[in-house]
Amino acid sequence: MNQNFKQSDSQPTEAEHTLRLLANLPPPEGLTDRVHRRLKAAPAPGRFSFLTGRRWTAGGLGYSSMRLQFAGAALAIVVLAGGTWGVFHLGSHGQAGASAQPASNSANPGGAAGGFSNAKAVRVPPTLKPLHVPPAPKKKPNAGHAAKSALKPAADSASQQAPAQP
């Protein structure tokens, strides 16, 4: 460990001796050779360089990776647009032909065949039924007055005939 590091911080404990032993364990023999061999066997990073933006030449054509990327993107767009157009037109033609309609139960509102007979029932409260009220009789003008005057002498004669009550 760095000397400055040791002095500035608290002193390394006895327990850290174990970690230092662990950190100083010798590497296995032939480690560097094996790493060299592995690196030689590793695939060259430039093999797929056209995907990473490097220049790629084939047969003197001189296509750059950017051109290839643009071509790929354009192809993808064309395929996608064509597919979408086809699906759209298939859908629009299909609507003109046979289309599946949901089965309607209106022909059989009672639903005698099925178990859900009241599925579409709409309850109408009886108060909403129109009440038939007979039209009021038309009153003639002064008819009330005439009736009153006709009743008055009869009342007077009745009071005269009745005996006086205690």
Partner: protein
Amino acid sequence: MSTCSAALAGWMENPATSAREQSEATREMQHEATANSETAIAALVDEYAATLYRVAYSVLRNSADAEDAVQETYIRVLRHRDSLSEIRDARVWLVRIVWNVVLDRKRRSKTRPETDDISDLARVLPASGLTAEERVASAQHHAQVLRAVEQLPEKEQRVLILSAFEELSSVEIAQVLGTTESTVRSRLFRARNLLSTLLSHSRSAR
């Protein structure tokens, strides 16, 4: 006609020929750069493979896994060989790469129990000049310390492990962990305190 073309050839450049020459020159330069970078990587392997192995082993505690981590580190370096010249401190850069590789591996193999390996590991640690009884006692002590280190919080544990490497200063540890030097110091202080507390607890429990 032939005289005309011969006269024209003197001042008119053939575009196909120039493009071919240019591509050949580019290819030669690439070959040269590749050879240079391969030489540079080979030098890095010779110089730092042992250090990287020890860093990997201190975390993984498995020889084969540590070697795999070192190889993976150099393969990552190979992928960035074009930018090798931009690296200021190759040692710290490599330690940082191997540290990330090791942490990735450890995270992936979290389900595998490691506690059983500690006793074996304690026996592997050098104990020269000790009697058989002292060796057993030393192995037990090492195992106890390693178990206590395992119990430390992750950040403190990492700083403590890296501080055991003589070739890494606090500034370099901070660079490897992506923190500041003061953070490294405070974490190390906390780690030491926690470690001594854990060890005293385990001794009193006996």
